[in-house]
Amino acid sequence: MMFRIARSREGGEINHYDLYKIQTRKGMTVLDALFQIQDKMDASLSFRYSCRGAVCGSCAMLINKEPRLACRTQVSMVIDQSMKLKPFPPIIEVPHGWDKETEILIEPLPNFPILKDLVVDMTKFFDALEELKLWESPTDGDETRIQSPKDRKKIERYVNCILCAICFGSCPVNYEKEEYLGPAALAKAWRFNQDTRNPDAKKYLESAQQPKGTPMCDLIMNCVKACPKGVAPGGAIRKMK
């Protein structure tokens, strides 16, 4: 199997694509393939990784023009998969010479500045969490609070978010509008707003509804299709709009 990988030595733009021949084996993931390249062919290839089990959110990247976690994506299944995302430039424009039938194309996650190869600058993604103050302001007390299983279930979907930024990288609005806070932060605001334990729930909703928040979303729902954890940020944003 051939891998065509976007390279950017100094960051900024993709400068060129390198082609590597991977020795595949049963159950091999895209992350395994990237390590094979780094170990055996090209030590200069940079990409982030940590858990290799789809819980830490480090390895989001564009795989055959779809944003995925490299560790959870089987090499053997890449070519047949489709998320049916609404197109926008980074997922439309294909590099010269890419043979879709025989090569897997790997590029950095869109909508973020490239730092090197597949490593992107996620500062604005994490800054949005701080800007919206997405944390509880704890009050004193020495007992746990009560929450019914039914109320707990309301936030289940949203607490499963791993902050991998795949939603942000799949969003045509994030592509166009630098200031848009993005689906993950807004879905997290909804998680705090819907948490029945939270005495101050309204403030999260209000901050999510600022101009560069929910009003900017066009309900395109790429985030819902691309999310590897079934969080469905678009559904939360629709409710907040």
Binding site: Q38, D39, S46, A54, C56, K116, W135, D142, I146
Partner: protein, 559 residues
């Protein structure tokens, strides 16, 4: 230039974050971490966090279970802190926002776990670590904790009597920088990647343990490696003990629930060392599938319970093994999971080097002794994060800053050392060394141990260290040079592998997770003691140290 803070915490998992939260109001504190905090391995913990909160449960029962589970090698004064402080620790994190799973009455749900007398494991489905880490990170963000993100620690800097700081490589630029601090806290987690088959994140390379060892600080009980009984065949991803806590069966090729032979009372919920040996025995005696694995069967639990309690397990099984546990059993085998050993420290995290503290899996206080109970490691990070934070705070009140000269010198030396690796045009492949090292550890220092095999492993480890001296990466860049980082991690793994193997060779008994085929019995007379590994002039030696016993009398351990 040298960055200066009162205290620097290395590692941003649950333990490191909790230490920072304790100190941030009163001191200039910074965390230094090689990955974004949310990418730390705490995120992968599944099953839960123990706290005696049930009606008939008590911290004493929790303490007894922990000490017995530890095969009496735990220090009972440290276990007392762990178990006494457990409920308040869970309450604190709940009040910070963690969305624990609930009972019908709205209180926190608790599930049964291996080796525990009560269902005392609080959980959030099978994603407990993920929830606790995100919540704790949110609180660190709220309090404005300073974080040096994507910095790889390269060495500790000390003078004759105490720690003065550290050196680290800024991953984005490849620059080596100096950091001055009156106190350093090591919270870098475990070193599971010494083994090829491990549930651990790829980043779990024990960097903090290795740099401490090289700075003359002893490591303790390194031979006690926990092999989790149930890791997914193929990728070694963890299949939580919670699966068995929810009623999952272990089945061999004969269709038998074989735990009946090994622990008739506790069955699948015997402690991990016992279940791991049972599975290994079944496979060795020819009752494993493809001679490699057994079945973890959940099909009788029903779709609804699996979807509600074990959604993460189902997702992992489907994505990484192509198996839906609602319909089919999961193929599992034992794999490295947890490092009971670590940096030798007391129950407040203080090491033998003034100003250096350790916490969480990187530390060895010891609360887990020879075998950790499931649900006690998340607990350790948060309980002792607070305790160690408070201790460091006391220390800082009288600690003074030192001249930076010694740090500058160390930065210069480290820079030279890294450049030597980077400029070497040809030499040994780090990937080959890593493969040989980690595979020999799987094969020869695993669940069952023989002295001649451990010696064989030691020989291979020492060969790899020799090869490492001429390691070469091939062409790479300064920025985001993960090949270099993985090579520096490998250097750490080599030292830790030797410490593990040495400890295992010298301990002529079987206790907890350390099982010697030539000494199948526990030997309290000779080995009711902690192992210390000390490195001086590049040579490691072993010493022993008494265990702090207490209210629980040392007895035979049966389940």
């Amino acid at each position: 230039m040298v960055h200066e803070h009162d205290v620097i915490i290395v590692g941003a998992g649950l333990a490191g974050l909790r230490v920072a939260i304790e100190l941030v109001k009163d001191f200039d504190v910074a965390i230094l971490t090689k990955v974004h905090p949310l990418r730390s391995h705490s995120v992968a913990a599944q099953g839960g966090i123990n706290a005696a909160m049930g009606e008939n449960d008590s911290w004493e029962t929790h303490a007894f279970d922990t000490v017995k589970g530890a095969d009496y090698l735990a220090d009972q004064d440290a276990v007392e802190i762990l178990t006494r402080e457990a409920p308040i620790t869970v309450i604190e994190n709940e009040r910070w926002g963690t969305a624990f799973s609930r009972k019908e009455d709205g209180t926190i749900a608790q599930r049964p776990f291996g080796g525990a007398g009560f269902p005392r494991t609080c959980y959030t489905a099978d994603r407990t670590g993920h929830n606790l880490l995100h919540t704790t990170f949110e609180q660190a963000m709220r309090l404005g904790v300073k974080i040096y993100e994507e910095y790889f620690v390269t060495s500790l800097v000390r003078n004759e009597s105490h720690v003065v700081g550290l050196t680290a490589m800024e991953i984005s630029s490849g620059e080596v920088l100096g950091f001055a601090a009156k106190a350093v806290v090591i919270a870098t987690g475990g070193f599971g990647r010494v083994y090829a088959r491990s549930t651990n994140a790829l980043i779990n390379t024990g960097d903090g343990c290795a740099i401490s060892l090289r700075a003359g600080v002893p490591l303790k009980d390194m031979e006690f490696i926990q092999f989790h009984p149930t890791t997914l065949f193929g990728s070694s991803i963890l299949m939580s003990e919670g699966v068995r806590g929810e009623g999952g069966y272990l089945i061999n090729t004969e269709g038998t629930r074989f735990m009946n032979t090994y622990a008739p009372e506790k069955m699948e919920l015997a402690p991990r060392d016992i279940v791991a040996r049972a599975i290994s025995t079944e496979i060795l005696e020819g009752r494993g599938f493809e001679n490699e694995y057994v079945h973890l069967d959940l099909t009788h639990l029903g779709k609804e319970r699996i979807l509600e309690r074990l959604p993460g397990i189902r997702e992992i099984s489907m994505h990484f093994a192509g198996v839906d546990p609602i319909d089919e059993p999961i193929p599992v085998q034992p794999g490295q999971h947890y490092s009971m050993g670590g940096i030798d420290c007391d129950k407040h995290g203080a090491t033998s080097l003034d100003g250096l503290y350790a916490v969480g899996e990187a530390s060895c206080m010891s609360v887990h002794g020879a075998n950790r109970l499931g649900g006690n490691s998340l607990l350790e990070t948060l309980v002792f994060g607070r305790v160690v934070g408070a201790t460091v705070g006391e220390y800082l009140k009288s600690a003074k800053s030192e001249s930076h000269d010694i740090i500058d010198e160390e930065v210069f030396k480290t820079r030279e050392r890294l450049q030597e690796i980077l400029f070497r045009e040809s030499g040994e492949s780090p990937a080959d060394i890593r493969k040989e090292l980690t595979e020999i550890m799987d094969a020869k220092v695993g669940v069952f141990r023989r002295p001649e095999e451990i010696e064989e492993a030691l020989k291979v480890i020492r060969e790899q260290r020799k090869r490492f001296e001429s390691v070469a990466l091939g062409g790479s860049d300064k920025k985001f040079n993960y090949s270099l980082i993985r090579t520096l991690e490998l250097e750490n793994l080599i030292d830790l592998a030797e410490a593990i193997a040495l400890g295992a060779l010298m301990r002529q008994e079987s206790r907890g997770a350390h099982w010697r085929l030539d000494f199948p019995k526990r030997d309290d007379e000779r080995f009711l003691k902690h192992t210390l590994v000390i490195m001086s002039d590049h040579v490691m030696r072993i010493e022993y140290k008494d265990v702090n016993l207490g209210q629980f009398e040392v007895k035979e351990r049966t389940y």
